[in-house]
């Protein structure tokens, strides 16, 4: 039947509509309509980054290099927030939204996608605003190569999305995931390249650390930001591979979760 092509298109249109509806709903339930409302979406990560920037400035976290500390903190902490906030929001997000599955158009993937899109938009807006404001105040230089930084950010956001699909679906399977995930994110924080440049590490440690996917995102963002002032070790193709494989795993797990969960 000629219907099949149409129904594929309309299926996609329905999914976009549903994700849109879920995003609006999520914004209302999370931020409400009181005081500044959804501005918290990016104010919260902004304040976080601001606090860390202040702290790192005070303790001179650039380890004796002459790298500008504000730019170092903003690029580093923003990239942490990207994957950490996404994956934390994904934990148990299916369970708390089960009643939405009463509406047949609403799929488990849509529940997760809506949350993650919001989270990524928030982290991105926060990073852009901070960079703009700090540049305006003269605390940060303008990025040397915006395109490289943007590609790095994009690859890292993709990583965050895929990782969160996996964590979200897995947390539906076992209580253990919820308890362990926060510990894992905490342990990954110092390894993710936010608080150091790979170049500062001893050689043997470098070879080990470049296996961690987030490193490549953070390094690439800093490469774009600082240009040739720093020596970075990112391998975008490696991150792209990891992103793709993790996305496939994530989609498969989410699909499997969708078959299993039952609204109350």
């Amino acid at each position: 039947m000629s219907l099949s092509n149409n129904s594929l298109q309309s299926g996609f249109a329905i999914q976009l509509r549903v994700i849109g509806a879920l995003i609006v709903r999520e914004m209302i339930t999370r931020f409400g309509r009181h005081n500044i409302g959804f501005l918290w979406l990016f104010l919260e990560p902004m304040l976080f980054t601001l606090g860390v920037t202040t702290l790192w400035t005070l303790i001179k976290a650039t380890h004796g290099t002459n790298l500008p500390i504000t730019a170092f903190a903003v690029t580093g902490y923003s990239s942490i927030l990207l994957w950490r906030n996404c994956s934390n929001r994904a934990v148990k997000s299916i369970e708390v939204n089960l009643s939405l599955l009463y509406h047949r158009h609403v799929k488990v993937f849509d529940l997760l996608a809506a949350r993650l899109i919001l989270e990524i938009v928030g982290a991105t807006a926060s990073c852009m605003l901070l960079t703009t404001v700090f540049t305006g105040l003269g605390w940060m230089e303008e990025p040397v190569d915006i395109l490289t930084a943007v590609i790095g950010w994009f690859l890292l956001a993709w990583f965050a999305f895929a990782l969160s699909l996996i964590v979200g679906a897995a947390s539906e399977r076992s209580e253990l995931v919820e308890r362990v995930w926060h510990i894992i994110t905490y342990l990954l924080f110092p390894l993710s390249g936010a608080a150091f440049m790979v170049d500062w590490l001893p050689k043997p440690f470098q070879e080990f650390i470049v296996w961690i996917p987030m490193i490549h995102g953070t390094e690439m963002i800093r490469h774009g930001y600082f240009g040739s002032a720093v020596h970075t070790y990112e391998n975008p193709i490696y991150l792209l591979w990891i992103d793709s494989i993790m996305l496939l795993i994530g989609l498969a797990l989410v699909r499997e979760a969708g078959r299993r969960v039952e609204p109350e």
Partner: protein, 219 residues
């Protein structure tokens, strides 16, 4: 037409797999009204949820050539932390229905007034039911799935609901779960009975009740 072919459904429990429906066959034509009878726990609601695609059958297939409502029950499918209005907006967006006319309709029909701007969790069960019924009437379907949503509100509201559902939408198909014999007799052309996971079809509602009561006394 909605067609269920050899539907089986079992659930994982602590005592192992428990079969709720086995080899269920049913077809519902456009405009047809079918009552589902069965004791508590017979699997009536499960059947409704399978038809609405909220759950998947363990085996068997369901063909749906009509648009089907979500299972209309007391207050289900709501977000307690959202206001009545936000719930209306959300459901309109999900089903692709224009929002302003739906809000006007629900405001008028549910008579909730200022409470539409309050979170649904503050509602009484009667208010919830009125909102639920109003919203489900604001989105049009070819087939309505009705799970014990008969006694909503006071007499006047019940009469209003009856007119909306059974008179203004007399051309729609409906699948109705109810323990009220009068209700099924009044609104269904035929009825099916669920006993021990098996579905028994009857052309006449009265035959279905005979069978239902005969089994009721044995079990």
């Amino acid at each position: 037409m909605i067609t269920l072919n050899n539907i089986c459904k079992s659930y994982e429990t602590r005592q192992g797999l428990r079969s709720v429906l086995s080899d269920v066959n049913l077809s519902v034509a456009k405009g047809e009204r079918v009552g589902i009878l069965g004791r508590n726990g017979a699997g009536k609601s499960t059947l409704i949820r399978l038809i609405s695609a909220v759950e998947r059958p363990t085996s068997g297939t369901i063909q749906r050539d009509m648009s089907i409502s979500w299972p209309l029950a007391f207050g289900g499918a709501f977000q307690g932390s959202l206001t009545g209005l936000d719930n209306i907006r959300f459901i309109c967006r999900v089903y692709g229905v224009p929002i302003p006319p739906a809000i006007d309709y629900v405001e008028e029909f549910s008579e909730l007034g200022v409470y539409l701007r309050e979170p649904v969790k503050k509602y009484s069960s009667g208010m919830r039911a009125r909102l639920a019924f109003g919203i489900s009437m604001a989105v049009e379907f070819d087939c309505f799935l009705i799970d014990e949503i008969v006694a909503v509100g006071d007499d006047r509201f019940q009469e209003k609901s009856r007119i909306e559902l059974f008179e203004k939408r007399a051309d729609r198909a409906m699948i109705i779960v109810s323990h009220s014999a009068d209700f099924i007799r009044a609104h269904c052309q035929h009825a099916v009975v669920l006993v021990n996971g098996k579905l028994h079809n009857f052309a006449q509602v009265d035959d279905a009740f005979h069978f239902y009561h005969a089994h009721d006394s044995i079990i």
